[in-house]
Symmetry: C2
Subunit: 443 residues, 2 copies
């Protein structure tokens, strides 16, 4: 008998990060990093954990959206095989009534992603492998069976995807060994939050270089004069060869982006990230044509259909997948294949709650079994909140070490869940008590 799912729990977990201005950028001044967190349990004792990352208010909507998926999971076969994983992905993304709420975008799609990622966590643990290796051991036929090719076939058919995966088969073992030995290149955003002082920026930028990072990132888009000064300071701090990416977090219209980046260009930014709306494919293409800095986007791109068009339109130089925005591993597999078809490097978005932990597996799998390259590829690293995970991402000398523990690495410690439950956990009770004693209003 194959195991059956018998448990489905959802938790609203929030961290009061706005107290430190960690994570502050031009669009998000005061995030409280949060997770709508799901645990699925099978009757053989297997468990899978997954999450939606949000920045505070509205995390309860994401939790409600996950709960709506319960009937598609509970009492179904536990996702321990490639076939069961593909079937679960299909059930979670093809319910016509829930699809109406997107389709394939926003909270309901993120919720599907959380549950799908929990299923891959369960499957990989069941196999005793980290997710990157579980994926990298699957046959090309099993991998393409995970992908929903609907709306992709004008650009990528199942047969083309199969050809990409087969072409990367020969070197898999060698690349996996190299990955285990050397780790995967990382960059750090820790110096560049908009809420930080110049002094803190310079100090953290120097520490990043001393710590072995070959790339850092600055948030921009608040004020042009400030950004020119911060970029100048950062360039002086890191020297001429370290890459400095900049990130506008969707702050601009096309003309603003062109003007701003033309002004920053003398300091040689490596890329401009999210110059404008993540929905604006033609806008990104115009920004790319209109100024000299390479264009990156993806953390807020809703689904594979928008990624397809960003590539079709020549709108991006780097594809920034996010582990938890789209429909989990399955849809990210489609996006990795699209990027491979166009030869565009995938440089994942991370940070938040558990995003580093999750997305490292996808980048490593891409290296081993899809693109076959880590040239010009780098995973974002932000040193926040890792202490809350049982298998935190480990970055040393500017590289992510390949995870060896089974699963998807994004399992929160039970005591972290208990402490940060919203609104009833002790962290939030204490914060409300402190606010009330100051006469203010807590969230």
């Amino acid at each position: 008998m194959s195991p059956t799912v018998t448990g489905f729990e959802v938790h609203d977990i929030r961290f009061p990060t706005s107290e430190q201005l960690d994570g502050s950028d031009a669009m998000n001044p005061d995030p409280d990093y949060s997770a709508a967190y799901v645990v699925i349990r099978a009757d053989d004792g297997s468990e899978g954990h997954g999450l939606c990352f949000t920045i505070g208010r509205g995390n309860e909507i994401a939790a409600a959206a996950i709960r709506a998926l319960r009937p598609a999971v509970l009492r179904h076969p536990a996702p321990t095989t490639p076939a069961a994983l593909a079937a679960l992905h299909h059930r979670l993304t093809h319910d016509s009534q829930l699809r109406w709420l997107g389709p394939e975008k926003g909270v309901t799609h993120m919720a599907a992603g959380a549950v799908i990622n929990a299923a891959w966590d369960l499957a990989a643990r069941h196999a005793g492998l980290p997710v990157w290796e579980f994926l990298a051991r699957m046959a090309p036929e099993e991998l393409v069976a995970q992908v929903d090719f609907r709306y992709l076939t004008d650009v990528l058919t199942r047969d083309e995807a199969l050809a990409i995966l087969r072409a990367a088969e020969p070197g898999r073992a060698e690349r996996a060994a190299r990955l285990r030995a050397q780790g995967y290149p990382a960059y750090t955003t820790s110096p560049g939050w908009l809420g930080y002082s110049d002094e803190k920026l310079v100090r953290l930028a120097k520490e990043a270089v001393a710590g072995g990072f070959g790339q850092i990132k600055l948030k921009v888009g608040g004020d042009l004069d400030d950004d020119v000064r911060r970029m100048r300071l950062a360039r002086a701090a890191v020297g001429p060869t370290v890459r400095i990416a900049v990130d506008a977090n969707q702050r601009w219209d096309v003309a603003d982006a062109v003007r701003w980046m033309t002004a920053l260009a003398p300091y040689r930014p490596h890329w401009i990230e999210e110059p404008t709306s993540p929905d604006d494919i033609l806008g990104h293409a115009a920004v790319r044509r209109g100024q000299p800095v390479k264009v990156a986007t993806g953390e807020h791109v809703a689904n594979r259909v928008v990624f397809k068009q960003l590539l079709q339109a020549g709108a991006v130089d780097f594809v920034q997948i996010d582990a938890a925005r789209v429909a989990g591993v399955n849809e990210n597999l489609a996006i990795l294949l699209l990027a491979a078809k166009y030869g565009v490097p995938v440089c994942p978005h991370a940070g938040g709650v558990g995003l580093c932990e999750l997305v490292q597996h996808l980048a490593m799998f891409d290296y081993v079994a899809v693109s076959g390259s880590w040239e010009d590829r780098v995973i974002e690293y932000v040193d926040h909140l890792h202490e809350h995970f049982t298998d935190p991402a480990v970055v040393t000398r500017g590289r992510y070490l390949a995870p060896r523990a089974p699963g998807f690495s994004a399992r929160l410690l039970p005591e972290s869940i208990a402490a940060h439950r919203f609104p009833e956990g002790p962290v939030w009770q204490a914060r409300r008590a402190a606010e009330e004693s100051r006469g203010g209003i807590a969230p």
Copy 2:
């Protein structure tokens, strides 16, 4: 003293429409038409009602998303003036933490639309005018102040929008008088649901023509042979001059759409609606180039940024706004202005719960004060569920009569709310009891 909002109520309302296969199409076989319904109350006795339309499961997520907006409304000035309406729209769409859940798409954006539409209902009732007339009496400067031009300025600036509205000012009174006298052209989807028999299709198509409709619509996309037969029957039933639009509800990839529409083209479909994913701007452009039938889309288009690109890319011949998918009147005003700039007719999507009631106001306002034309324009009409509204849309001889009652026309009767509350209302209790007596499982 200006009035203040002191009440904010949310209801989960569902109608068991799946019992009749009303509303069945290639993607949505069994919808239970539903509304996450919001009422805002001010301390001067004013009320505004608004809704998210959904098709059943997940309506509770939309209700949760509306509840998350409560702090942006409660204890703020009641939206009785253009300035208060603009400020409310800004608060509802610029909360950085909630924005993360879209941005500007999916359930959270639909929820903002419900609340914004409730605010316009309140404002228009306060002024004693139907919404179309309330809008049509606003100065061009007041109207552009309602629009969020972020991400639009590469295509439409505030000054260009102002010029469009000023150019339409001279004929406003004359067009409003003509509208009151003649009504606005409608088309009917009632004959064409995919779940209906050939006999029912033919009978309802003939009834539609006899009832004065110059256009009908058929759902397609299930099976090509069936669709060719149904299209042939419909063309024979309505004669050569009545327009027959077809609607695939996102069923196809680009090549499918081209093949299917090439086969249907001999029967002269007026447009192909939603041939593929609503996110696929470049896909719609390819469908438009690849076959002879005009292309329409919009009911699932997430926001003004995607509409902008559909127009930029020459992807659509008709823009199908939906009253309740985007951020309410304010964002639809942006979309009407974009369509006017490109000279593309707006033919609204309607049906569902209250969508006819709401969207008629926007099309009429477009005619009076934006495009200044009803040439090639037509509002969808579906004869379902109107009996539940206090001021239902009225269509006679194929035309929507201009509403005369103050407000937005989408106020549900108190007894309809009470009967259809999910899961506790008597309609759902009775359905569960019936299912249980048959041994089945109710939703």
